[in-house]
Symmetry: C2
Subunit: 252 residues, 2 copies
């Protein structure tokens, strides 16, 4: 078995709307003397994808509704930000001072609908929404990487989420292309030939967490990493594999 190697792709410029992320990452790979080989995976922080896609919103432009104002008073946040959170959400699960947990329109549960305050712009007053369709964003980039290089690769877009019962945020997948979201090992024999039970692995989330270690969280400027040695076979994949259907969720 080979090691798993996660290489930071430093030196990307601050990303602006319209930037060609694929070209910028290709240049970064070149500086590292890294080719894209069969089975390699590129992991990108949500932040640079959202910026390139122009998902910035100027808070001044938001007109909060009565519902947003009421919720904002309760949780002690800017009503305009709360309006954006509601716009990006399917359902509010928990709201108390300082905390709003929602089901995002993309299907996952997260704090503040993934709306990001930091590292957005020198000027105050901008916030960043998640990409409109992160699976599609990952698909589009993968197509361009594969057309340029020939090898089948995976592209993963990640964000950092809190967990229900544990402290600290961890990297999670929000857009998946060309790799499994979940790997189903049920039915495979264990070491003694007995069938493994109830073993579906959140492989794309594990990789998101791994990549997040290398990206760092403090804006060190490394929002893209290259992965070699991911041991599960690549295949078409998508975020939805990782989302528990609401009716099976006993923790809302």
């Amino acid at each position: 078995m080979k090691p798993l190697v996660i290489t930071p792709l430093e030196g990307l410029p601050l990303i602006q709307e319209g930037d060609n992320l694929v070209s910028l990452i290709q240049e970064s790979l070149k500086r590292k003397n890294l080719d894209l080989l069969e089975g390699d995976i590129l992991v990108l922080a949500q932040k640079i994808v959202s910026k390139a896609e122009g998902r910035r919103v100027f808070l001044e432009s938001v007109n909060p509704s009565k519902a947003a104002k009421e919720l904002a008073a309760k949780i002690e946040k800017d009503p305009r930000l709360v309006q954006l959170i509601l716009d990006e959400s399917a359902e509010v699960l928990r709201a108390r001072p300082g905390l709003i947990v929602v089901e995002h329109r993309l299907g996952f549960v997260s704090a503040n609908a993934g709306i990001d305050h930091s590292n957005v712009d020198e000027r105050e007053g901008w916030v960043l929404l998640l990409p409109k369709d992160p699976d599609a964003s990952a698909d589009a980039m993968r197509t361009r990487f594969e057309e340029a290089g020939g090898a089948h690769i995976g592209v993963l877009i990640i964000d950092s989420h809190g967990r229900a019962w544990r402290e600290g945020i961890v990297g999670v997948a929000i857009g998946v292309s060309g790799l499994p979201g979940v790997v189903d090992l049920r039915g495979r024999p264990d070491l003694f030939g007995r069938e493994l039970r109830a073993t579906t692995v959140g492989a794309a989330d594990e990789l998101a967490a791994a990549a997040s270690i290398v990206m760092g969280q403090a804006g060190e400027g490394c929002p893209a990493v290259h992965v070699r040695g991911f041991p599960y076979p690549l295949r078409e994949g998508k975020l939805a594999e990782l989302l528990r259907p609401k009716e099976l969720d006993t923790f809302r």
Copy 2:
């Protein structure tokens, strides 16, 4: 920045009670020509630690209580297994057919109190409990590795847990020694000099997930990995950093 490299330590024998895990891993490192350098981390699957510590229980030896029998009927599990789950738990959070979610006596929330069915013994009827005190197990091993090699390293013991809202199990830390459980980045400047907010990173859990990718879940026989390039400074750490205090938990 250096890459994060996670190397599988294959070739460990099937672990038996009383086995010297430290020696076995040292031999495995030698076969890989890997030294333990300053800042390296060894990640071990809970399974081999529990086995070496003799945490196997023969189900025949368990005498289920009335409460265990009633719960077992409700969730359609073996009453003796349910008794062990209750013995290992502080509180039952959810119970329905096929699913029992508890607060483990070690403080984390998990399914089946982490009691493991597969890969335990050729004979049927054994199950494996988690180590009695995984932080202490990790501490003891780290001391022996450091005495042998001289370099400061980390030792992490991991298991795989389900998540509240997402499909697929992922690696999580259950025993931490010599590395941070959580890294607190609050107060550090972001790219534009603004203060980062609410950013504590579950660094040991991210590393557990990363290591879990390399270990695999299907009993491929690689329950130990070597990590180089973990970017956060090593320090004393413990599981408790990763556990949300019950009174702050809104999802029970």
